[in-house]
Symmetry: C2
Subunit: 219 residues, 2 copies
C-alpha cells in the first residue's frame, strides 16, 4: 500500500497532506487495498457501502444496466479519483449502480466513520482531509449537474454540442481529446451509438467540427 502513497498525495482527498502524514493516517483511517482484473466488478447494485473508495491504478466505470440491457455509463473514475461519497450518510440505502474495472485496477478503501469522526490529536491533518472530502463531494455534485445539463437536451445533436462545448471550455481550446470511444460516449449521453455516429458525421459535413477518433476540433 505504501507504494501508492505518492498517488494518494495527488488526490483531492489528501491534497495538502505530506506523504509522511498520509502514511500515518492510513491506519488511522483503516485503509485497505484490493486489486481487480479488467472486467471484474468492484461493487454490485444493491450492496451497502461503508467505505470511500480511491482508485490508485487502472480505470473504473460506474454503470447501470436496465431490465432490457441498455447500459448507461453514469460516470468514469480515473486514477486518483474516488467513489462512494454519495453513500456516506447512514440513511443512504443500497448502491444503485455497478462499479466495474475496465482495466486491471487497484483501489484503496477508507472507512467512512473514521474519516468524518475527527479522531484524537494523533491525526493533525485529519481536519484537512475532512475539508478536502467536502470540496470533493461538492465538486462531484457539480459534475453530476453538468452531465444532467447535457443529457436533458432533447436531441442527440444538442447533447453532443453541449458535451463537446464543455470539453472545449474545460481544455481551454477548440481542439481536445475525449476519454470515450464512440460506444462509451453514446452510453454517457444516453443515446444510440449509430445514430450518434451519424449525427457527428452530419455535423462534420456541415462544417461544425472535425474529428479523428477521439480527437475533436470545434469550428
Amino acid at each position: 500500500m505504501k507504494n501508492y502513497i505518492p498517488i494518494l498525495k495527488r488526490t483531492q482527498l489528501f491534497a495538502g497532506v505530506s506523504e509522511d502524514e498520509i502514511a500515518l493516517m492510513l491506519s488511522c483511517l483503516d485503509a485497505r487495498m484490493h486489486t481487480y482484473k479488467k472486467g471484474e466488478y468492484v461493487f454490485h447494485q444493491g450492496e451497502h457501502l461503508h467505505h470511500i473508495t480511491v482508485l490508485v491504478e487502472g480505470e473504473l466505470h460506474i454503470q447501470r444496466d436496465d431490465y432490457w440491457g441498455n447500459r448507461a455509463i453514469v460516470n468514469r473514475i480515473a486514477v486518483g479519483e474516488m467513489f462512494g461519497e454519495a453513500y456516506i450518510a447512514p440513511q443512504s440505502g443500497a448502491l444503485l449502480n455497478d462499479v466495474v474495472a475496465i482495466e486491471d485496477s487497484t483501489v484503496i478503501f477508507f472507512d467512512v466513520k473514521r474519516i468524518i469522526t475527527v479522531c484524537s490529536s494523533a491525526c493533525r491533518f485529519h481536519s484537512m482531509v475532512v475539508q478536502n472530502l467536502f470540496f470533493a463531494i461538492s465538486e462531484k455534485n457539480k459534475k453530476l449537474l453538468q452531465k444532467l445539463g447535457h443529457i436533458s437536451k432533447r436531441t442527440t445533436r444538442e447533447k453532443l454540442i453541449s458535451y463537446l462545448s464543455e470539453e472545449a471550455k474545460r481544455n481551454n481550446s477548440a481542439s481536445f481529446v475525449i476519454p470515450f470511444n464512440r460506444q462509451q460516449l453514446a452510453d454517457f449521453l444516453s443515446v444510440d451509438r449509430s445514430a450518434m455516429s451519424n449525427e457527428l458525421c452530419k455535423m462534420r459535413d456541415e462544417g461544425l467540427l472535425e474529428f479523428e477518433k477521439n480527437a475533436f476540433k470545434l469550428m
Copy 2:
C-alpha cells in the same frame, strides 16, 4: 429570523441541534435572511456563490434555459431544503443554473467559510452541523444520480416508469401524489409535455396505472 428557528431545527443542516443552540449559531455562521416574490430570481446563471442557502418558506426551482428556450427543471427545493452545496469548493466556478422562487419565498444564507472552518469553543454544535452538511451533500449527490437514472432512459415511457416506480417505492405505496404538474414533470424528465401526456394516457388505457391530477396509482 428567529421566527424561522423551529423550521431550521427541522432541516438536515441543523438536525440534532436545539433551538437555543441554533439561535446562538446564527451569528456565528453569519446568517442573513432575504425574501423573494413569486417569479423572482434568487440566483442567476453566472453568479459566484459563497453561501449555503436554506429555504424556510415557499418553493424554489433550479432551472436552466438553453439557447432555444427549452427549460429543464434541474431540481425542486422545498421548505427546509438547501441550495448551493455544489459550489462550496473555492475552485468552483460560476453558477450554471437559475434559481427561481415559484412561490413567495424566504431564504436564509449561511457563509460557507464560517461553516466548514470549525470555530472556537463558542459553538459546541458546530461539528454536528459540519457532519450534517456532509450527509446532506452526499444525499443530494445520490438524488442527482437517481434523476440521471430516470433521464438516461431512452423513451418517455421508460422515463415515466422509472420515475413513478421510484416515487411509489419512496412512499411505500402504489398510490402517491407527485409534487409536479404535467408541464413541470415533463421539464423534470426532459420530455415534451404533450407527448408525455399522451404516453401517460396510453399507459392508463393499457392498465399499467391510474391517475387523477397529480395523484397516481400503479397497478
